[in-house]
């Protein structure tokens, strides 16, 4: 968060102002603190840094899961393979489109809900808890329910369409309907969570600004645009970045949507990068290629976050001008 708001870190600020204590005393005082934060860094090193480096190492080899002890050095061949691999680019495109059609409506709706829940209304606590329920539902359970709804043979949605004399839709086999169905699972699960984040941000907006706006004759919409949105900017940027990362790693929904098969539909119509990585490594046995995909995903996510930040900063600068 400190990098996002682009303010100097709080710790620095304080230490600059405070008069320096003698060096020895300082180091003695912080020694216990280091010991207490050690477990986190031990776990972090074991479960993040080590796998991270090991994945990079494996991605430079031809390795199969079944014969894991036999590594053959192939240099960047796995990465070259990916660049010309249409399964990779298909998964990349699907990840982008699924990300857009799930994250954009999700954040917009969440913002609207947060705005409504910020008003005084009866049973506010109930609604605040209720919107978080989907987030607390297990992914598998949610996907199974949505599968039933969207089933082309026995689903209630196609039944409703038919009753209304509309054409039935193949929510499984056709590309865009299938992606829409998966995006709806994601949206359903995460909207409440984002609404809660936005709500927290909203409550930090100075109420006097609303009063002042009222005095200036601003209506609800004008207040939303000119007070709420600018006040929420850091929260919105945070939510966008978190959902960008989440979208890029989309995995469980498309896996379960095809009955647990990692191919993302018979025409790979909703295969994501995360799913492709799993298919390459655990179904197709090719750990080297899967590791290369993992690292490519890491770079792609990093680029996406940097682009997000650059856009946010440019807008900020323009607003400041």
């Amino acid at each position: 968060m400190t990098t996002i708001t682009a303010e100097p870190a709080a710790g620095e600020e304080i230490s600059r102002r405070r008069p320096r204590r003698p060096r020895a005393a300082r180091s003695r005082g912080s020694r216990i603190a280091y010991v207490y934060i050690l477990p986190f860094f031990v776990v972090f090193a074991a479960f993040s840094v080590y796998p991270w480096l090991d994945t990079a190492w494996v991605s430079l080899h031809e390795v199969r899961l079944s014969t894991y002890d036999q590594h053959t050095w192939v240099g960047l061949a796995n990465y070259r393979n990916l660049l010309s691999n249409h399964y990779f680019w298909n998964a990349f495109r699907n990840t982008v489109t699924l990300g857009i059609i799930s994250a954009v409506p999700q954040l917009c709706v969440a913002l609207g809900i947060a705005h409504l829940l910020n008003h005084k209304l009866r049973g506010r606590t109930f609604f605040r808890v209720a919107i978080l329920m989907p987030y607390a539902t297990s992914l598998a359970a949610a996907t199974v329910i949505f599968l039933e709804l969207f089933s082309p043979k026995t689903g209630i949605i196609d039944w409703a369409l038919q009753t209304l004399h509309l054409p039935r839709v193949d929510w499984q086999g056709s590309k865009w309907p299938a992606q829409f169905a998966i995006a709806s699972i994601v949206t359903w699960r995460w909207t409440g969570y984002n609404a809660l984040i936005f709500l927290a941000g909203l409550q930090a907006v100075d109420q006097e600004l609303y009063a002042a706006a009222s005095v200036d004759g601003a209506g609800r919409w004008a207040k939303f645009r000119h007070v709420t949105l600018p006040g929420l900017r850091p929260t919105i940027i945070f939510a966008i970045i978190v959902s960008t990362i989440g979208s890029a790693q989309l995995f469980g929904e498309p896996l379960l949507y095809h009955g647990g098969l990692p191919d993302g539909g018979t025409q790979n119509q909703y295969q994501t990068l995360g799913l492709l990585m799993y298919q390459q490594g655990w179904t197709n046995d090719r750990l080297g290629l899967a590791s290369a995909t993992a690292w490519s995903m890491f770079v792609i996510i990093l680029l996406a976050v940097v682009v997000n930040l650059l856009i946010a900063r440019r807008r900020e600068r323009r607003a400041a001008r």
């Binding site: 899961l65 089933s151 086999g173 018979t266």
Partner: protein
């Protein structure tokens, strides 16, 4: 004062370090295996028929329904060996189970005392992990064990030179077709054994029946002849001299006669619109066993159990077993039980697996009341009169012992390969495109080969 302060701080940081260490150790401590293990390893003669006389818990890793619990086999073992407690570690789908097992074999930890091995990955286990399983050629009863099984069953679980065998057989999958006799009657199709024996003897005859079914005006609306053309493909592919691998253990999808033949029959059925276009092993498919969405399904012996599970009591007398298999006798599926060398209870695990695969138990598995369709891989059991004479009340009193017995006795067994499971699922996806999306068989075929290359590398 100062000195004391420092010392107290040192003590405090030591304490913190110990606390931190204890916290991180607690995470690792609980995963070690059961307490009362017998570390004999080689198997001592004095340990008796149960492999050990000490109280021992054996974990058994399985997938799907092996039926040991359902058919009372575990209870029987509890009586024979009261000191042994059996704990099943179940995964529903064999593909998920294999992923898990592969990971555990690669890391060499987390393995159960007994692991189920399915035909879809026994090739991989034999080729890459034979040294991680007890070699059944080297156990005390090796010769007697080997004599029990169909030769092909034993050699599928053995290395090419036959020196290393990773598991003892449980069931096998002699296959025919199952059909809904009530829907056949309703659609005006023949239901008498003599005519069906003739019609079901070739794939052409089967497809002709299908066309007749689809053209019928009296069949239920939304009902189709076969669940999916994958039912046809997966059954027919093992009728070739090759399935997915050639005789030298190399994936050979493009040139395999089994694949070519099965592909042409399946795409023919798709273009004749004989299928309901369902995906196997998903809820929609499961429901269709009772709803009548399809009238036939490929029926390896074990499918009898699956049908009863899905169609329930209401399906009794509706489903029937075809007297012959179109295109010739062949096998789909079947399993083995292996004992990882990492097991700390090897002698007890070996004793259990030998007991499970003996004649009496394999006879029980087939003739038990539940009739889960576990056709014996133990040939002495298969030859037992009670097995051959078994009929199934659920399947309209069909002489299932005779039908599956004849098929099991004359099966052609193509070589199996390391990637059979993966290749089959990729080809199935493309056949689904042909039957539901109208993809041309030619472009589906090249997409299938393209996808297979992602596996074989």
């Amino acid at each position: 004062m100062r000195l004391r302060g420092t010392r107290r701080r040192t003590a405090a940081s030591m304490l913190a370090l110990v606390t931190a260490g204890a916290l991180s150790l607690a995470g690792c401590g609980s995963s070690s295996s059961d307490n009362s293990s017998d570390n004999a390893g080689g198997g001592s003669a004095s340990a008796g028929p149960c492999g050990t006389t000490k109280p021992t818990t054996l974990t058994v890793g399985l997938y799907g329904t092996f039926g040991f619990k359902e058919n009372g086999v575990w209870d029987a073992y509890k009586k024979a060996c009261p000191n042994i407690t059996i704990k099943e570690d179940d995964v529903e789908q064999s593909a998920d189970y294999w992923t898990k097992l592969k990971t555990r074999l690669a890391s060499g930890s987390g393995l159960d005392d007994v692991q189920g091995i399915e035909i879809g990955f026994v090739g991989d286990v034999v080729q890459n992990h034979a040294n991680q399983f007890v070699n059944w050629n080297k156990v005390a009863n090796a010769a007697a064990d080997k004599a029990e099984f169909y030769d092909w069953k034993w050699s599928m679980a053995s290395t090419a030179d036959g020196s290393d065998t990773v598991g003892l057989g449980t069931d096998t999958g002699p296959q025919t077709m199952c059909y809904r006799s009530d829907l056949f009657k309703q659609a005006g199709l023949p239901t008498d054994t003599a005519t069906l024996t003739k019609d079901f003897s070739t794939w052409d005859g089967y497809l002709a029946l299908g066309k007749q079914y689809e053209a019928s005006t009296t069949k239920p609306a939304n009902s189709h002849f076969v669940d999916t053309v994958n039912s046809i493909f997966n059954a027919a592919v093992y009728q070739g001299t090759e399935a997915y691998d050639n005789t030298s253990n190399q994936p050979d999808v493009e040139k395999s006669d089994g694949v070519k033949n099965a592909w042409s029959i399946a795409t023919q059925a798709a273009q004749d619109k004989l299928s309901a276009g369902l995906t196997q092993w998903v809820p929609d498919w499961n429901k269709a066993f009772s709803s009548g969405t399809f009238a036939t399904v490929a029926c390896p012996a074990w499918m009898m159990g699956y049908i009863q599970g899905q169609a329930g009591d209401a399906g009794s007398g509706k489903w029937a077993v075809a007297p012959v298999m179109p295109g010739g006798a062949s096998n789909w599926g079947g399993s083995w039980l292996g004992v990882p060398t990492a097991s700390k209870n090897q002698p007890a695990a070996i004793a259990l697996v030998e007991w499970l695969s003996n004649k009496a138990n394999q006879v029980t598995m087939w003739t038990a009341k539940a009739q889960g369709g576990h056709w014996p891989s133990n040939q002495q059991a298969a030859a037992d009169p009670s097995v051959g004479q078994a009929t199934s009340a659920y399947f309209g009193n069909a002489p299932v012992g005779k039908i599956y017995g004849q098929i099991a006795g004359s099966m052609k067994i193509p070589p199996i390969g390391q990637f059979d499971t993966q290749i089959q699922s990729l080809i199935n996806a493309q056949l689904t495109n042909v039957e539901t999306k109208g993809t041309s068989p030619d472009s589906a075929w090249s997409a299938a080969l393209d996808a297979v290359k992602q596996v074989t590398g």
